[in-house]
């Protein structure tokens, strides 16, 4: 017997976290046509910064959440400058350089904090809503997740920066012709992308009640499945696919066992590749 309302609650909850993480990856793929494998490392950095600022330095959880994001965004810009920009013209070299960058970051975290999961307190308490047990932390994730997704959509659709980002995704040369600087757009996109990976970490860590050095690569694995499902570089596709993916993952956990959910993304992607290789919203591969 599947508890349907709980299943849907968690689908929405994780759907938001996954979208926030995946849009960052999709953004860089859109703007620079490269896959940034270090995206998971941004998540890990933010999670550990959050942990240190909150539980070691004694900041309030909210202050720690806000304070850990700028360094994460900065890391994004640095990784972009050092490992993506020099090989921008060779998209597949980017795989190797960002993979190495991600290994460096993961290894540093491992040396500093060991591989053991570190406990993170959660917001206690819950509401009873239509007979469903809804944890307060979950409500917060849904509210902030909705806000973050909405803000990014507004930014891309309604602002000058968003216009430039969309234009850069179309053609770097044309942006240059109208007097824009595509490299600057790329840098801003890297910051935004890492920022969103950081927000995902801040939202998810208290909910999962622990952080590990592998947290980021696990998110990245899910994000791969999501962007292939949604179509590479499509923001709307990534958001839609996040919820589909989250639903499948939750359904597998409820039906079988939570650990079986690790297999779900692979099976989903294989099926997707067989029936529609370009993804739900992607252009011709």
């Amino acid at each position: 017997m599947i508890p349907v309302p709980t299943l849907f609650l968690y689908t929405i909850l994780y759907g938001f976290v996954y979208s926030i993480f995946a849009v960052g990856f999709a953004l860089i793929f859109g703007v620079a046509k490269v896959a940034n494998v270090a995206h998971g490392a941004f998540y890990t950095i933010a999670a550990y910064l959050y942990y240190v600022l909150w539980l070691k330095a004694g900041l309030s959880p909210v202050a720690a959440a806000v304070a850990c994001l700028p360094p994460t965004a900065l890391t994004g810009v640095l990784v972009g400058e050092l490992t993506i920009r020099p090989v921008l013209k060779a998209p597949v070299s980017v795989f190797v350089t960002t993979l190495a960058a991600s290994a460096v970051i993961e290894e540093v975290v491992r040396i500093l904090f060991s591989t053991n999961p570190l406990p993170v307190p959660t917001i206690r308490g819950s509401y009873s809503f239509l007979g469903v047990y809804v944890p307060k932390a979950g409500i917060l994730v849904v509210a902030l997740g909705l806000a973050a997704v909405a803000l990014l959509t507004l930014l891309l659709d309604k602002t000058m920066l968003g216009l430039f980002i969309r234009a850069t995704a179309e053609s770097w040369d044309e942006v240059r012709i109208i007097g824009g600087d595509p490299l600057r757009v790329f840098r801003v996109s890297m910051a935004l992308s890492a920022l969103y990976a950081g927000i995902a970490a801040v939202l998810l860590s208290p909910l999962e009640m622990a952080i590990t050095p592998y947290g980021g690569s696990l998110q990245l694995l899910k994000a791969f499945a999501i962007v292939i499902l949604g179509g590479l570089g499509s923001i709307a596709g990534s958001i839609a696919a996040s919820f589909i993916f989250s639903f499948i993952e939750q359904a597998v956990s409820f039906l079988f066992m939570a650990n079986y959910a690790y297999i779900a993304p692979l099976i989903l992607v294989v099926i997707m590749l067989v029936i529609r290789p370009r993804g739900l919203f992607g252009e011709e591969a």
């Binding site: 998209p91 460096v104 992607v269």
Partner: protein, 324 residues
């Protein structure tokens, strides 16, 4: 010219066979055996990715399938390594086809992303229950050395050195056989088609060649060699653990070897493997845990500061496939 090359290869092979007689310590022999195995990993990666320019980041997944196949056969059925290792190659090939056949329709970044998912997922799967009960979790599955029964008969003083000497010779035999096979594939008319796919797949297709068939065959060859190497690797280490799937301990060294040695050159990775693995092994003494960080940074620097080098030429072509 041709014979000169063959003669040089023979002299090199003979030299490699005589190496253990040069009074090397067991630690050095062990490092050399690992270098042989990594050279095979790099060669097998090169046979498919180096020629077709499809970046198969799932290579460690294939290696892992080979490793765990022989380990599971040993643990569950008591299958001896000399039977388990060839079967592991076949299993790696079969699973590889099953998993990668759908993604062989993808191009450029799509293929690389899809392929990278498998080792990350298998690494996680191998460490969580219920799968870890079968796969041995972090510690892995203990397996015997391929020549266990022979080594057991030797007196204790000789057994230790014989362990490393035989490991070296077995890995060397595998390396020579793989290098011959890889060379044959890459420099035959078959290899010409593969390189053509790397240059401009649409053009090759337009001339009436079924590119999927060629990619699949190259992939099968690559997977078989990688599976056998993975299986021999765990028998030499005497445990099949998730480390063989990990990005930092297996994939990054393979990529470093290939980048250093030159993609698609087949012979390049051989020398590069010795340099890379010996550096990797000996850096442990100098910088301990920091060595894999140093390694990753070196890899980045190699690619960034030598863009005219190997990976660049390859991927400038792949750019076409991405429609930039």
């Amino acid at each position: 010219m041709r014979y000169k090359g063959a003669a040089a290869a023979l002299v090199l092979a003979a030299g490699m066979f005589l190496l253990p007689r040069a009074g090397l310590g067991v630690r050095m022999l062990n490092s050399l055996a690992i270098a042989n195995i990594f050279a095979v990993y790099a060669l097998s990666f090169d046979v498919f990715s180096g020629t077709t320019l499809y970046l198969n980041l799932g290579h460690t997944f294939i290696i892992g399938i080979g490793a765990y196949t022989t380990a599971l056969l040993w643990r569950m059925k008591g299958v001896k390594p000399y039977i388990g290792i060839p079967i592991a190659g076949l299993a790696a090939m079969a699973v590889g086809i099953l998993v990668f056949l759908p993604s062989l329709r993808l191009r450029g970044a799509y293929f690389a992303i899809a392929s990278l998912m498998y080792p990350i997922a298998l690494y996680r799967i191998s460490t969580v229950s219920p799968f870890s009960m079968i796969l041995g979790g972090e510690g892995g599955i203990p397996v015997p050395h391929p020549l266990q029964s022979y080594l057991a008969e030797l007196p204790a003083a000789e057994a230790r050195r014989a362990f490393y000497t035989t490991s070296y010779y077995m890995s060397l035999l595998l390396l020579l056989a793989s290098a011959a096979a890889a060379y044959k594939i890459a420099y035959s008319s078959f290899g010409v088609v593969l390189r053509g796919i790397g240059q401009d797949e649409e053009l090759v297709e337009a001339s009436g060649v079924n590119t999927l068939r060629y990619k699949l065959l190259a992939f099968m060859a690559s997977s078989y060699i990688a599976g056998v190497a993975g299986a021999l690797h765990v028998h030499i280490l005497m445990a099949a653990s998730p480390e063989i799937l990990a990005l930092d301990t297996t994939l990054i060294p393979i990529l470093s070897i290939v980048v250093l040695g030159g993609l698609g050159t087949v012979i390049g990775p051989l020398g590069a493997s010795y340099i890379t693995i010996l550096a990797y092994e000996y850096l442990w003494g100098v910088m301990g845990e920091l060595r894999s960080i140093a390694f990753s940074l070196l890899l980045i620097a190699l690619i960034v500061f030598k863009p005219e080098g190997l990976i660049y030429t390859l991927y400038a072509k792949a750019r076409g496939a991405l429609g930039r």
